[in-house]
Symmetry: C2
Subunit: 327 residues, 2 copies
């Protein structure tokens, strides 16, 4: 390319938005550049406060993100937005409809928006998302908002990389038990009952609060000496902006709590360790996939596994005891 | 233990249900027995027809599974049911409320039910579920029904291991775009619009059908010469059983299609290959976790990663080039 990676990185560190976007594309493509990029970012990480926003489809997450971005800007801070959109089976591209709403920020250099497609997942998306968050952090954004649709392993992985997790639900989502079944109770730092003008909103809020009380009273003994964060359950109407200031305030309060309790450091340490493990896993898959195309003996071995002649468990042990994984 | 693994396997092959349940517990615990168990199962696999049932929380999947199990029994066939229940943050156990409904099958030896908790996931659940399905297959079940809640990476992984995927939605789930956003369009072989007596059911059916037409007309060129399966969109009322016979018929029709088109073989081959890759990934994580407890030099290295002194990408490469992964 006409520009070297070092030049691109320098441009980004100098505040060039086009350079950030190009670097994001590089980490999404998962090429050889990822390693050097991450190495270059490493000394500049940890200044952004990252906020994850998740919940079932239709919970109004995009509107919440939109308002939060505006409030962050009003507070004189910069923001990066990462939105994970499932890819369409028709075009292979992302469904960007929701993002059109963000167009009020289009001319504001203090808001950087990136949509990620979920195409070709397998941990790849979660990993690429983490790298994009790092790029925004190293780019100097004060806040990074990460929006995911639904709650599955990828979403949980992504939420696991943010400092504060906001879970949005709507009265129609069913009752508190459904929220619990979806695993949302475990990850929420703040609950938002959006579309709070609808039937059942008050009941939803009460149910969530009761279930949270139950959660506190069943706290594991190992955590008993750590300060307890009481998860707020906030009503909002994201379309009209009702309750959004209170929500932003709650996020700031949680931020303070994380710092003062030492929890922020603990979370970030655990996160880096987890990131290492998942990167090794990913690299293993990548190397095996390449080997299957370039090494005929290994390709033959894989074919025997595909045909059921060698069971996957035995094959896995063989691979780990061999030197196949070394490059 | 008083009984050896070989004896346990022999008991299972002789039809002992208690032995199957104990073997399931062993694969869930992910101990040393997993390898030998899978090796023993390998020659007995591939006879069960596996059906995945997924969709958003509240779509009535448990009721659908319940009815399908009854219809399979009526057809004189045996069935195994694997239900993935998210674990409760309170007890660490599975939420088994929905399963109580299955009690009509309690005394029927032709129905074997297993609930899996989602606790401590990270691919572990998907892998354990695949092993449990294999146990039911090797146990001689004609059908295996696998029910998952929600749609995330784990659910997609699990659905990827079944022969037919049934996606259940309800009119309240929003519109077809939401279904598409949740990635359900890509995995469905059969759509069920459950609670079809509610408002919006007809509209939901029409929308899904239209989106499917769009999908067919945008078929990748590479698949153009393969026979096309036209995904049915079936209305059901699982609580009362309306539409269930038609659903079972559609499953049987898809089964025939898979066999006649050669797609069944193709899917199973791809599945075994994928299983190998994910087993290697899992084993890598397991070995590193053990090493972090037993090898002080490696523990120190991990600590430096946790503190941000070594970036995860560099550390990952170092691990793969070392002999840390060998046991």
């Amino acid at each position: 390319m006409a520009i070297t990676l070092t030049q691109l990185l320098d441009k980004m560190f100098a505040g060039d938005e086009v350079a950030v976007a190009r670097l994001m594309t590089l980490v999404e493509r998962e090429g050889k550049e990822v390693g050097p990029i991450l190495e270059a970012l490493a000394p500049r990480l940890g200044n952004a406060f990252t906020i994850g926003i998740t919940g079932p489809p239709g919970a109004g997450k995009s509107s919440l993100v939109d308002h939060l971005a505006a409030l962050i800007r009003k507070a004189g801070k910069t923001v990066g937005v990462v939105a994970i959109d499932p890819s369409s089976p028709f075009t292979g591209g992302a469904l960007l409809g929701d993002r059109i709403r963000m167009s009020q920020h289009y001319l504001d250099k203090g808001v950087f928006i990136r949509s990620m497609a979920t195409r070709g997942s397998h941990g790849g998306l979660a990993r690429a998302t983490k790298d994009v968050i790092k790029l925004l952090d190293a780019f100097g954004r004060d806040y990074v908002l990460v929006e995911t649709v639904g709650v599955g392993q990828t979403e949980l992985d992504v939420m696991g990389t943010t400092d504060t997790v906001l879970v949005a639900v709507v009265p129609e989502a069913g009752d508190g038990v459904q929220v619990m079944k979806a695993g949302l109770m475990e990850i929420a730092d703040i609950f938002v009952v959006n579309k709070a003008d609808r039937d059942g909103a008050a009941r939803m809020q009460t149910e969530l609060s009761l279930m949270l009380e139950l959660k506190y009273s069943n706290r594991p003994a190992a955590e008993a000496d750590r300060p307890l964060w009481r998860i707020p359950v906030l009503p909002t109407q994201a379309l009209t902006g009702v309750g959004l200031k209170e929500l932003f305030q709650a996020i700031e309060t949680h931020h303070q709590f994380l710092i003062e309790s030492g929890e922020l450091g603990r979370r970030r340490k655990a996160r880096r360790r987890e990131e290492l493990l998942s990167r090794v896993e990913y690299e293993v898959r990548r190397r095996l996939t390449i080997k299957s195309r370039t090494d005929t003996a290994f390709a033959h071995f894989l074919e025997e596994v595909s045909e059921g002649k060698i069971d996957p468990q035995t094959a896995s042990t063989k691979i780990l005891e061999s030197s196949v994984l070394r490059e």
